[in-house]
């Protein structure tokens, strides 16, 4: 037992003890909302080249365009289930930029952009949104495997599964990690906790993200937990856990990169809480944010969104401008149009295929069913 270095009465000062959370979890922050660098040393540490910056902003723009188009198409019934991502571009695109092909992505339903930049063709993402299983064949256009799970619907499940991938990578001595995303709502789930704790206990190769975007459908962040920082929940499992300005692409990238390095070094997982904002509805399936959130709150959040500051900073550095942006957006839109056309051409799924995909060796009753549906051409 350690020596009593702290007076017992301090130990029993419960009020003080919980307030310490603010000291343990300061916020990593490099690029402020006006596009100014507040910490040049950290900027240097991120080692981002001009090319990196351009790739990151392009990914952020791609994500934003996907968001705009999907939301619109969903309203027309041409897109299926979609969970908007506007506001989370730094949190999603700058984080995932720190990972490599060999790493395994464990996305939630809102993490479509991360899978897309990992090589998942957009037409497959569209099929997934429509509930077409061909979308769930995770290969690139060239047939190369994309190390991603399909977007997880059961909140938290991706965390326990990520722990398994991470442990497997450690056993195989791979220079790779599993990186998983959930929301601040998801961080209330038992599976979230078990996943982080297992990965910690095995010192497995994982990086966990909590995208704290303020809301779980209608439920505000404050309702989820009395913790002042969700990162505390990873730290409590003995896992280094930090809070990052989730609208600051440089901070998000740096944190992710360092977390990956730590996690591949054999020291175990890292957890990153990104403080960001969900700027739109929870999903395209009938959610109306104004039932539980004021317009003023939404307007204020839009002022802090990550594209503004990234654009501003890169422009000030002379590596981005309006023309480049317009050109890229045009390019992206054309791509999306193209991909929708591809998706539209994919023929509808057959029931017999569904049954065939249920067990490798079908049961007696399933064989009957396959025969019946096939005879009906279904």
């Amino acid at each position: 037992m350690r020596d009593v270095v702290v007076a017992n009465k301090e130990i029993l000062d419960f009020d003080n003890q919980i307030q310490i959370q603010d000291d343990v979890f300061p916020i990593l922050h490099i690029l402020d909302s006006d596009g100014e660098i507040v910490d040049n040393e950290s900027l240097k540490r991120a080692q981002l080249t001009e090319e990196d910056f351009i790739t990151i902003i392009k990914r952020m723009l791609l994500s934003r365009q996907l968001d705009i188009r999907s939301t619109k198409l969903a309203k027309q019934g041409r897109f299926g289930f979609f969970a908007p991502t506007a506001g989370q571009e730094a949190s999603q695109m700058a984080s995932s930029y720190a990972f490599k092909d060999d790493d395994w992505l464990m996305p939630g339903y809102r993490d479509i952009p991360q899978i897309v930049v990992k090589g998942w063709p957009i037409w497959k993402a569209i099929l997934w949104s429509r509930g077409h299983a061909l979308g769930n064949v995770f290969t690139t256009e060239e047939g190369k495997p994309v190390n991603s799970w399909m977007p997880q619907i059961i909140i938290g499940a991706q965390y326990v599964e990520a722990a398994g991938i991470a442990l497997g990578m450690k056993k195989r001595q791979k220079d790779a990690v599993a990186y998983a995303y959930t929301g601040e709502g998801g961080s209330s789930q038992g599976d979230f906790y078990e996943g982080v704790n297992f990965a910690g206990a095995y010192k497995a190769n994982a990086v966990f993200f909590i995208q704290n975007n303020g809301f779980a459908i209608s439920t505000p962040r404050a309702m989820q937990t009395a913790a002042s920082h969700l990162a505390a929940k990873g730290w409590a499992a003995g896992v280094p856990s930090i809070v990052v300005d989730g609208n600051d692409p440089i901070a998000v990238y740096l944190a992710s990169k360092e977390a990956r390095a730590w996690a591949t070094s054999g020291k175990g997982p890292v957890l990153i809480e990104t403080l960001t904002n969900r700027l739109e509805a929870h999903s395209t399936a009938g959610d109306d944010p104004l039932r539980y959130r004021t317009q003023a709150d939404i307007d204020a959040a839009w002022k802090k969104e990550p594209l503004i500051r990234m654009r501003q900073y890169m422009t000030s550095q002379g590596i981005w401008d309006e023309d480049k942006e317009t050109a890229y957006i045009t390019e992206v839109n054309a791509l999306i149009d193209d991909q929708i056309k591809i998706a539209d051409k994919v023929s509808k799924q057959k029931i017999s295929d569904f049954i065939k995909n249920t067990l490798e060796v079908p049961s007696y009753a399933m064989v009957e069913q396959i025969t019946k549906f096939e005879s009906e051409g279904k």
């Binding site: 509930g131 209608s218 029931i351 049954i355």
Partner: protein, 326 residues
């Protein structure tokens, strides 16, 4: 009587229960200000306050534990599981705990908990949102599973469930929420649990169904009528425990049976119904029991969901087979 939608009937029942009994509480993910993702609890928090209608953190097992614990303080919890596909997260609270507590405490504790949850296909939800998982919970002794198939029953059965001192899993059909309207009696009334209802009288064949299968069966019965076949449709309403009496009555009356369920063949309640008939009423049967159910695949994703789901044409065809048998 006013014509109301299924979901309005559900909401009305909770409204009346909250009004009548201060011990009734409503909670779950997003049930507060937002009124639930389907608006089943719309307006209830504004009317009864945050103390009685409140949001929870996002964790189903926590919600189940909350309900169980609250019973010790004499509350009657109505907990919502946002979609029944998420029931796996709260299986221990339901099947390991609340269902067993009357038994565990040798009859000295009540567990007046209602687990409300939407289920069922046909609205192109993402996966895990539409599954028919009633068969799993129906295997649990100590719990009731209730699945109304029309607005009047939705209200009356929900009020009975709230009054019950045993836990009730109350499954609300998503597709019927807004598509199904019907006459709903005014005010507070209860519809008895554990009692099936004949929702279409007939003499030639019995179609036994429940929940989302009932409208399909009714449509088939109308169709069959045109072909001169008189089908009786039995709506189980409570799927666990089974109303064996009513099942026996219709089987002995018609001697021919088709069981209709939305769940996969290997899941659902169909097999239980058929087993009771084959054990108890087999002498009355003039033909093998027919069964209409979904195929034994995983519940399919949105796109081909409608192809996969059972159809009244299939029921009609199966009934013809059973009626023309021998």
């Amino acid at each position: 009587m006013a014509v109301k939608s299924y979901i309005d009937a559900v909401r009305e029942a909770m409204d009346l229960a909250l009004e009548k009994d201060n011990n009734v509480l409503v909670f779950g993910e997003d049930v507060g200000k937002n009124g639930g993702v389907f608006r089943a609890t719309d307006g209830l928090q504004a009317k009864y306050g945050e103390d009685r209608v409140f949001n929870t953190p996002l964790a189903e097992s926590g919600i189940g534990g909350l309900a169980i614990g609250l019973t010790t303080q004499d509350y009657r919890p109505i907990m919502e599981i946002q979609f029944f596909g998420f029931v796996f997260e709260v299986m221990d609270s339901i099947a390991g705990q609340m269902a067993r507590n009357r038994y565990r405490f040798n009859g000295t504790r009540n567990m007046p908990i209602v687990v409300r949850s939407p289920y069922g296909g046909g609205t192109k939800t993402p996966e895990m949102h539409a599954d028919n998982l009633e068969g799993m919970v129906a295997q649990v002794p100590g719990i009731r599973v209730v699945m109304p198939a029309n607005p009047a029953d939705a209200k009356g059965l929900l009020l009975s469930a709230i009054e019950s001192n045993d836990p009730v899993v109350f499954l609300e059909n998503i597709h019927l929420y807004r598509s199904m309207k019907g006459e709903v009696p005014e005010g507070y009334y209860t519809t008895p649990l554990d009692k099936a209802a004949i929702v279409h009288e007939g003499t030639d064949v019995s179609i036994i169904s429940y929940g989302g299968g009932v409208p399909v069966a009714l449509k088939a019965a109308d169709e069959l009528n045109k072909n001169g076949i008189s089908a009786e449709v039995l709506d189980l309403r409570t799927v666990s425990p089974l109303d064996i009496q009513s099942i026996g009555d219709t089987v002995t009356k018609t001697g021919r049976v088709v069981v209709v369920q939305e769940a996969q063949r290997m899941a659902g309640i169909g097999a239980s119904i058929m087993s009771e008939i084959s054990e108890r009423f087999i002498l009355s049967l003039k033909a093998p029991i027919g069964r209409i159910a979904a195929p034994d695949s995983v519940y399919p994703f949105g796109q081909a969901e409608n192809d996969w789901m059972i159809k009244s044409d299939d029921v009609v065809a199966k009934v013809m087979e059973v009626v023309n048998y021998d």
